[in-house]
């Protein structure tokens, strides 16, 4: 099978994740959509590693996973901190800079 098909899936997943980041209001769901985008990029890396016949793409995908794990840890800690002070996990409520 042509590995390019995986790239289409990756592009679609990335686009869906991007819509989610803009449209959804719950900070946790927004965060999950960011994870979806990172995963889509990883799928591209793995597919390109296969197309090009070397493992560098897989190593980069591995690093992306580590960075994503760090990002989740810090991001969720920030969400919990915001929730603790504002009693809300909605991204619309954290709008102090607007006023």
């Amino acid at each position: 099978m042509n590995p390019t098909n995986y790239l289409y899936v990756s592009a679609l997943l990335f686009t869906i994740g991007a819509i989610g980041v803009v449209v959804r209001r719950n900070a946790i769901v927004v965060f999950m959509c960011i994870e979806l985008m990172l995963n889509a990029a990883n799928l591209s890396f793995v597919t390109f590693a296969r197309i090009n016949g070397n493992l560098d793409g897989q190593v980069v995908a591995f690093f992306t996973m580590v960075v994503a794990a760090c990002e989740v840890v810090v991001g969720l800690a920030i969400i919990v901190t915001i929730y603790r002070s504002r009693r809300s996990a909605s991204v619309d409520d954290a709008s102090l800079l607007k006023r």
Binding site: V9, V46, V66
Partner: protein, 251 residues
């Protein structure tokens, strides 16, 4: 051939689950759908010769990261942020138009780009084993990024601890302080504490509000979380006169 069968089953399922993630109302359902997408991606990785990454995907993403998400959802609770109404007018059509533009661009780009040769495949580099190949690269070419990433992990752990640490500004009030506070607050209605949930001798579940002497339900008797979620059961059905109390004759 088996790979294309796998792809044409799992690929659409992954995309459908991702779209569902945007459409479902509850964050928990979004998390479950995302976990499904991640499992699909793990299967794709394994199908593409990235055995190690497939396993890591299951362990790290569906195992650790999604677990963490569900954990935080449990802590933060279910609130109004779940609603799907748009607050900025016209945001949704603009976002969807932009996304269709972006996605169309990506798809047409991929369909038009040619490599000029056949895809090589990983049979040769995976000959000694995928894990061995990755380990060789990781500890030779990529050894410096590897060390940097380890520093990043430690920093992230420290950062999370700093953010989650909660310094108590006022000393914790003792039981005596709380009791005095209740009596001095003016109303003596809650001086003895809030009523407990459940209808005496009829139903003692936490989602059944207690009955007041006049037969009405006391919403203060159940947890606020259950009330906001709307998981409160009508306690009127457990009132004494509503229930058939005739004792059958046992012979």
């Amino acid at each position: 051939m088996p790979e294309s069968v796998l792809f044409w089953i799992m690929g659409p399922l992954a995309v459908v689950a991702a779209v569902g993630m945007l459409l479902v109302k509850k964050a928990v359902h979004s998390a479950l759908l995302l976990a499904w997408v991640m499992v699909t991606l793990a299967i794709f990785y394994i199908a593409q010769g990235a055995l190690f990454l497939g396993i890591v995907q299951v362990v790290v993403y569906t195992g650790a990261v999604m677990m963490l998400f569900l954990f935080i959802l449990m802590l933060v609770g279910v609130d109004a942020a779940d609603s799907l109404t748009e607050t900025i007018r016209g945001l949704r059509p603009i976002a969807i138009t932009a996304a269709i533009g972006f996605g169309g661009l990506m798809v047409s780009l991929i369909s038009r780009a040619t490599l000029g040769r056949e895809s090589v495949g990983l049979d040769q580099v995976n000959a000694a084993g995928n894990v061995e190949g990755l380990a060789y690269l990781l500890f030779s070419t990529y050894v410096f990024p590897f060390e940097v990433v380890s520093a990043l992990l430690i920093t992230a752990a420290m950062g999370a601890m700093v953010l989650a640490h909660h310094q108590r500004e006022v000393p914790r009030s003792s039981q005596r302080d709380l009791s005095e506070q209740r009596f001095r607050s003016g109303s003596l209605a809650t001086a003895a504490g809030l009523p407990g949930p459940g209808v005496f001798a009829r139903h003692n579940a936490v989602d059944v509000p207690a009955l007041l002497p006049d037969g009405t339900a006391a919403p203060a008797s159940i947890s606020e979380t259950l009330r906001t979620r709307g998981d409160m059961i009508d306690s009127a059905q457990f009132q004494l006169d509503q229930i058939n109390t005739e004792v059958k004759d046992e012979k």
